[in-house]
């Protein structure tokens, strides 16, 4: 073990990576601490069985440690490396349970974004709470790949080109996923407000 200071919080990815390659277990632990939470979150967008996601995350890190001697010297983003490994692992796992994506998801690839003509400039009075609940609800209905793209873009803050590499599609498809997801969130707004209103009316009767 190298004699590096115990606190690794301020180390750059490159420093941690170097430590890992040299077999420094504390650098490895620092990488785990830094990335496993968001990695696990991402895994749950790919696969609905969180116990299997947990296994897959563990295996990804165990593999990183075992392969440390053969890892490339320079790394641009450890996070990207981990996400890609997890995605591949989960997809291999999924291959055992189901084959291929759904038709709906495949159609997404080449279709052009629908132009948003009904965009209004009206001031939306929705409270943050209501909007939050609505988006939460709608996320459960979006195709998996749209949710994946949204997560990688808005939560994990990967670039479009990184997301394209992760998801194994071109950048245009990534933009389509995001655009379609956002359009759905927007378009469903009125419908949802309407149904909430009806629900409220029914309850108050």
């Amino acid at each position: 073990m190298a004699s590096l200071p115990s606190s690794r919080n301020n180390y750059t990815d490159q420093q941690l990576w170097r430590g890992l390659r040299e077999g420094d277990e504390s650098a490895f632990t620092a990488i785990f601490d830094r990335y496993h939470r968001t990695l696990y979150n991402y895994g749950n967008k790919l696969f609905s069985d969180s116990a299997l996601v947990e296994d897959a995350v563990q295996e990804v890190f165990i593999d990183v440690w075992r392969m440390r001697a053969t890892l490339s010297e320079e790394i641009i983003s450890i996070k990207f490396y981990l996400y890609r490994s997890l995605r591949r692992r989960i997809h291999r796992m999924q291959g055992k349970y189901q084959s291929g994506g759904t038709i709906e998801e495949l159609v997404d690839d080449d279709s052009t974004p629908t132009s948003n003509t009904e965009e209004t400039t009206q001031i939306e009075q929705e409270s943050r709470d209501l909007l939050s609940r609505r988006i939460q609800e709608l996320l459960t209905h979006l195709p998996k790949r749209q949710v994946e793209a949204l997560t990688l873009y808005y939560y994990d803050e990967f670039s479009i080109s990184e997301i394209a590499q992760l998801m194994d599609v071109n950048e245009k498809s990534v933009r389509n996923f995001i655009h379609r997801a956002i359009t759905s969130l927007r378009q469903n707004r009125n419908w949802l407000i309407g149904s909430l209103l009806i629900f409220w009316l029914l309850c108050s009767l």
């Binding site: 939470r37 979150n41 075992r66 808005y154």
Partner: protein, 376 residues
């Protein structure tokens, strides 16, 4: 952002805008302030977009592990890497196992010993074509065991599959004598070959050449024992071997069974040279696999990362001098991630076929792959 109507989705899909919302700094503040001054009517939309981005980010990040889950994962990983660290010192080479992810893990641990290289250079005694040690080898072969000899008279490598599952890639103008079925794992080599030996600690594997015996447990290594009086080289790729000088007077088997006697145990990245004049083995350093005359298979890492299957097969074909027949319409677009260094040919095929859900059959130098899952 480009000059346009600036609808909500324009803001939501603009990376610069998102970065500003999530991580505002002075430069970006200034830029967007300026933008809003130029387009005061966009203020509500910008505000809305801010809400959307923050909420979508928040809602897509709701599946973080609990502190307890994090601890469990950390402990599980630590337990496994400690175990692996311990295993590694005892058994540098491990056979493929059949558990779901086991082979991947196994492959990963094998990959750690890639590029472990060591070599022994042995200046042999000038002897006749059938050297004394060969006659001794034949003589000491237990009664009832039939010796087989495979000669490679072609100009391409030839793979010999041994009864214990080990494989030997014999180079042109080389020959290997070995029992039909092993009682003791002992072979005799003239020429150059690359060995990938199945691990079996209770049955050490011995390679005899003129002048030296190489004893291994499970490992992969190269032996170059030319018929002429040139030096004999032993180069180990994975694992550990012991090299013994064979003297006329003593039995090779006694020697090999007794590691204290003049044997040289070589560990990763070490080599050794035997000087005929001084009659001793001297350690050397430096990689033995970088020399231009080194066989393809000895240099090959067999480390595949999302490698297209045709390329994997091509690598195996070149390394083992075999022809692999498979249905390209089914497997042509599949990729494979595995590290197969040090494993015998059978084990490599077994791992590849397991990953592809296919079967294999070997007939002569032709391998036929059947079945498998079609890849898109």
């Amino acid at each position: 952002m480009k000059q346009a109507a600036y609808v909500l989705t324009d803001f939501l899909e603009d990376p610069d805008f998102m970065r500003w919302i999530k991580h505002p700094d002075a430069t970006q503040d200034a830029y967007w302030q300026q933008f809003l001054e130029a387009h005061p009517d966009k203020k509500p939309i910008v505000e809305m977009a801010r809400q959307y981005i923050l909420i979508v980010a928040e809602q897509t990040g709701q599946q973080l592990p609990t502190a307890a889950q994090s601890d469990m994962m950390r402990q599980y990983i630590q337990k496994h890497i400690r175990e692996e660290n311990n295993e590694k010192t005892v058994t540098p080479f491990t056979r493929t196992v059949g558990t779901n992810w086991g082979w991947l893990r196994m492959a990963a641990s094998i990959a750690l010993v890639i590029s472990i290289g060591l070599g022994t250079y042995w200046h042999s005694q000038r002897q006749a074509i059938q050297p004394e040690s060969y006659q001794q080898f034949v003589k000491e072969t237990p009664a009832g065991v039939t010796l087989k000899e495979t000669r490679n008279d072609t100009d391409r490598p030839l793979t010999v599959l041994l009864s214990d599952g080990s494989s030997v890639v014999l180079q042109p103008a080389s020959r290997l004598s070995y029992p039909d079925t092993f009682q003791q794992r002992e072979v005799y080599l003239t020429g150059k070959a690359f060995f990938e030996i199945v691990k079996d600690p209770s049955h050490p594997f011995l390679v005899y050449t003129r002048g030296i015996a190489t004893k291994v447990l499970g490992t992969s290594f190269m032996v170059d024992a030319p018929e002429s009086g040139q030096p004999i080289k032993v180069a180990v790729k994975t694992g550990r071997v012991a090299v013994y000088a064979l003297e006329k007077s003593s039995s090779v088997r006694q020697k090999a069974a007794n590691p204290e006697l003049s044997g040289l145990v070589l560990t990763p990245n070490q080599g050794a040279e035997y000087s005929i004049d001084s009659k001793r083995l001297v350690r050397m350093s430096g990689s033995v696999f970088t020399q231009p005359e080194t066989q393809v298979i000895a240099k090959q890492s067999f480390d595949f990362d999302e490698t297209p299957v045709p390329e994997v097969f091509n690598t195996l074909e070149k390394a083992y001098g075999v022809h692999i027949v498979y249905d390209e319409t089914i497997l042509g677009k599949c990729t494979l991630s595995a590290s197969l260094v040090g494993q015998p040919f059978h084990d490599k095929l077994a791992v590849v076929c397991k990953a592809l859900e296919a079967q294999y059959a070997i007939q002569g130098n032709q391998v036929t792959i059947t079945g498998g899952q079609r890849c898109q």
